[in-house]
Amino acid sequence: MTTPNVLEIRDIYQTYQISKGLFQPKKPLHAVNGVSLKVARGEVLGLVGESGCGKSTLAKILLGLLKPTQGEVLIDDKPVADLDRLDIARMVQPIFQDPYSSLNPRKSVGSIISLPLRVQNAPNPETWQKRVEETMDLVGLPKRVYNNYPSQMSGGQRQRVAIARALINRPQVVICDEPTSALDVSVQSQILNLLVDLRQELGLTYVIISHNLAVVEHIATRVAVMYLGRMVEVADTDDLFEARQHPYSQALLNSVLTPDPSLGISDSHLGATYPNPIDPPSGCTFHPRCAKKMAHCDSEAPTPIDTGSGVVECHLYKD
């Protein structure tokens, strides 16, 4: 039995034209460079990669905020290009990293959470307050904060408000852009567990963008590793954390610091420089930093190879 894909992207390119000066020609920057991905209903997809690898651009494309230069996004097997922005909003909702900037400081909690209902012009306005209170209850916010302003709340509470706003219209997919990294460590686990509970309760699908590999390991069922606008490895979480295949995934996951100082800082072999995305390396874009570089890596770009449970894009695994 195949699970229907709630979200699918096919060969997405997002190119920005970067001006290098008044009289110089503009150069293209491929923020997302030919990415295809399927997200099955009910799954939690972790999206990891260094800063600048195109994760956030991809998130914006998934939210319908950015029209990709090329390629197709399908929500529930319907192309996004044919959908109204309100239809997209009903199906896909974001949760942002910083709850201090994701809530309008001039609006009360009730007004923030009910905004989706007002925008969608939901039926029965008299039930809106009840729906807001139900959703607040769902995310663990006490009813008394209904008339509070964001400035009167803690970071964790604010993030709960942001989650409530995302969930009030019961979307199918929630895109979480670093949902916990701006929070206190003690609150991070609360929010993560809340996300896990909500997923079971509401049958949600998550795309979780994170730098924190522990978060991804804890919550994701499948992980996609991005490097310089390409999806270099997609695998089930357990497989990836046990037996990662792509040298970049290996380096990334080995670079996690351990609390034991006697182990020292692990050497990721990545070197310090992240290549300039305006002028990406030839062949496999990862070859200048790769520990297992082979002769043809700098001339030939690897193609995605099906590994059974996922995809890896590396010459090492070519038969």
Partner: protein, 301 residues
């Protein structure tokens, strides 16, 4: 023994004060704001109730009673508390009626320029790109024109009436609104709540009205007060130069202009309307500074 719990506040209502309450509390603790607001309030009452408050008719001339000094002068009397001008018109009456013209011009010009400048500035800041380029060019063009000179030229061409002065000033002083609103909007539009509103499917108009404008309102109010003061001063200058409000209207600038030939021997003739302009502009500026301090406490120095 039972404790009467009905007197205790419900725990649900014990909250940190809401932003509005905090704002009121800070506003009443701010001396400059209170002084500025107080003077402005007095001026507003003067303007609104001029016919009741003024002891004489502002246009009534009495050539037998010319240039009577104010009451604190040796020859002054309570008959004309601030004396009379060179046509024998009661000075305090004309000051009171003059507040009407100054405030009318100040607030109307501020409203016109505020709507124009805010619309342009928010559009430039929100849309960026080409829109920003065009609007920035408009702002630069406007900044390159000397206000008084252009106002004089236009008034000289079109004739001077109260309405024309208001429109000319309103269409000339929108630059500060546009500049401030542009940068404030640029700052706000990168916030996640704007992205979030877009992801919720809000229309651009809705985002601008309900997400952007409330968050740039502080800056808007401060600029608005400064522009009222600016317009009041410009009106006084235009009237002084003879191309603003026309006689016999009781404008403060015009009163200074009419009194300037008596400046050396009867200095109160220009000192009194001068003080009135000074007080009004000071009050508006104090109010603007106070509002800035109160609404953005983190920027207080």
């Amino acid at each position: 023994m039972t404790v009467n719990t009905s007197k205790l506040p419900d725990p649900a209502t014990i909250l940190e004060p809401s932003p509005t309450q905090l704002l009121t509390r800070r506003a009443f603790g701010h001396t400059g704001l209170m002084i500025g607001g107080g003077i402005l309030l007095i001026m507003l009452i003067m303007a609104l109730f001029a016919p009741i408050l003024a002891p004489f008719d502002p246009y009534d001339q009495d050539l037998a009673q010319r240039l009577i000094p104010p009451v604190w002068h040796d020859k002054g009397s309570w008959g004309h508390p601030l004396g009379t001008d060179n046509l024998g018109r009661d000075y305090i009456t004309r000051i009171i009626y003059g507040a009407r013209i100054s405030l009318l011009i100040g607030f109307s010009a501020m409203l016109i320029s505020g709507v124009l400048g805010t619309a342009l500035g928010v559009a430039a800041g929100y849309f960026g790109g080409r829109v920003d380029m065009v609007i920035t060019f408009l702002i630069t063009t406007r900044l390159a024109m000397p206000v008084i000179l252009v106002a004089l030229a236009v008034v000289a061409l079109l004739g001077s009436s109260l309405q024309i002065v208001i429109w000319v000033l309103g269409l000339l002083i929108w630059d500060r609104f546009a500049v401030v609103m542009r940068s404030a909007t640029q700052q706000i539009r990168t916030m996640d709540y704007v992205t979030s509103a877009r992801a919720l499917g809000c229309s651009t108009l809705r985002i601008i009205l309900s997400e952007i404008l409330p968050n740039v309102a502080n800056a808007l109010i401060v600029v608005a007060t400064l522009e009222v003061a600016h317009a009041v001063l410009l009106e006084a200058a235009l009237s002084f130069l003879g191309l603003g409000v026309q006689p016999p209207e009781p404008s403060w600038g015009l009163m200074i202009s009419e009194g300037k030939s008596h400046m050396f021997f009867k200095p109160w003739v220009i000192a009194i309307p001068g003080t009135a302009i000074f007080l009004l502009v000071l009050a508006i500026n104090l109010l603007g500074d106070g509002i800035r301090d109160v609404t953005a406490p983190e920027n207080r120095n």
